[in-house]
């Protein structure tokens, strides 16, 4: 693990954190660029990294950063360095935004903007939920006649279960469903 490599990793991931707009998937083009510029990993390895990052908990962008850092330096330190570089721009930008937001929180411009934003945010989340619902309900991942009935039944049963015990912790629900997945070989 050379100092030069660490330095390059810091620059590359700081850049990714600064310019990747819109969540985990937005980091992928930056990772492709790293293949071209530095050759730290191959395209096949990147595919594997994406698969692992999607199948493990935590934000995908963060998972990818840790994976690349660990892989290129073969040590945990590399993973920590890349991850911290990725989130550093966020911390700087959000602290500045949060500072000004607090200052202008009571201005009616900000209030009115959020009045319009909240329904939009709600829609974005509904849309994301709809996306996974389609993947869960239809076998080929898009709206068609190829319906996965077992998933629908489990969905309804789990939904009613959560309604009945509405104080259930989300973590508990995730764990139950993971077990259901293993038991029913979903």
């Amino acid at each position: 693990m050379s100092l030069q490599l660490i330095f390059q990793l810091i620059i590359a991931f700081f850049k990714t954190g600064l310019f990747a707009l819109g969540g985990g998937l937005a980091t992928i083009p930056f990772l492709y660029e790293m293949i071209k510029d530095y050759g730290w990993f191959t395209k096949d390895m990147l595919m594997n990294m994406i698969a692992v990052s999607e199948s493990t908990p935590g934000p995908m962008g963060v998972n990818m950063a840790t994976y690349v850092g660990f892989h290129t330096t073969n040590s945990v330190i590399g993973g920590i360095v890349t991850t911290l570089s990725l989130v550093a721009p966020s911390i700087i930008i959000i602290c500045i935004v949060a500072h000004f937001l607090q200052k202008f929180k009571n201005s009616h411009w900000v209030q009115d903007a959020f009045y319009g934003l909240r329904p939009a945010v709600c829609a974005m989340i509904a849309s994301a939920g709809l996306g996974i619902l389609v993947v869960a309900v239809f076998n080929n991942g898009e709206i068609s006649w190829d319906i996965n009935f077992l998933n629908i039944i489990l969905l309804i049963v789990m939904y009613l279960f959560c309604r009945k015990f509405n104080k259930l912790h989300p973590i508990f629900i995730v764990c139950i469903c993971a077990c259901l997945g293993i038991v029913f070989q979903l």
Partner: protein, 183 residues
Amino acid sequence: MKIYIELFLTFAKIGAFTFGGGYAMLPMLQKEVVDKKHWATDEEIMDYYAVGQCTPGVIFVNTATFIGYYQKGIIGGIIATLGVVFPSIVIISLIASILQNFADIEIVQHALHGIRIAVCILVLNATLKLFKTGVKDLTGIIIFILSLVLTYTSIVPTIVIVILSAITGILFSYIKMKKGGSK
């Protein structure tokens, strides 16, 4: 000191159980940050999320920094973010060193397919809750429907929707105020 530890642990807990992108963290945030710790309201979470969408970086990290900052300033923001990334660093390092084919393991696949059902339910519940707090009138419903169609079909990038809906909010409030003033 206690608040720093709480911030770190709360966000580490959320990070360790959030599967599938930024929106999946919302049910956990509602439970831990809104209901249990009272660090923010449902409305504030939505506001942070909206800002997190149009600022660069990972949305979950941006939201965590927001909440941490309002609790304990810059250090609070840093600690909350460190909490978010901590489980990722541990889990990914483990997988990268011993289980490179993790995503192909059959039992992992089954568990993930099950978790997908949990995410559907959690996101549905989160949406219903946010709808109740965030959509207050007809204007809200119209913005909601339009944004839903635009986001789902991905005709326009998210940031455009964020900016347009903010402008709509300002415009409609302005029109309402004018009407109210002329009476």
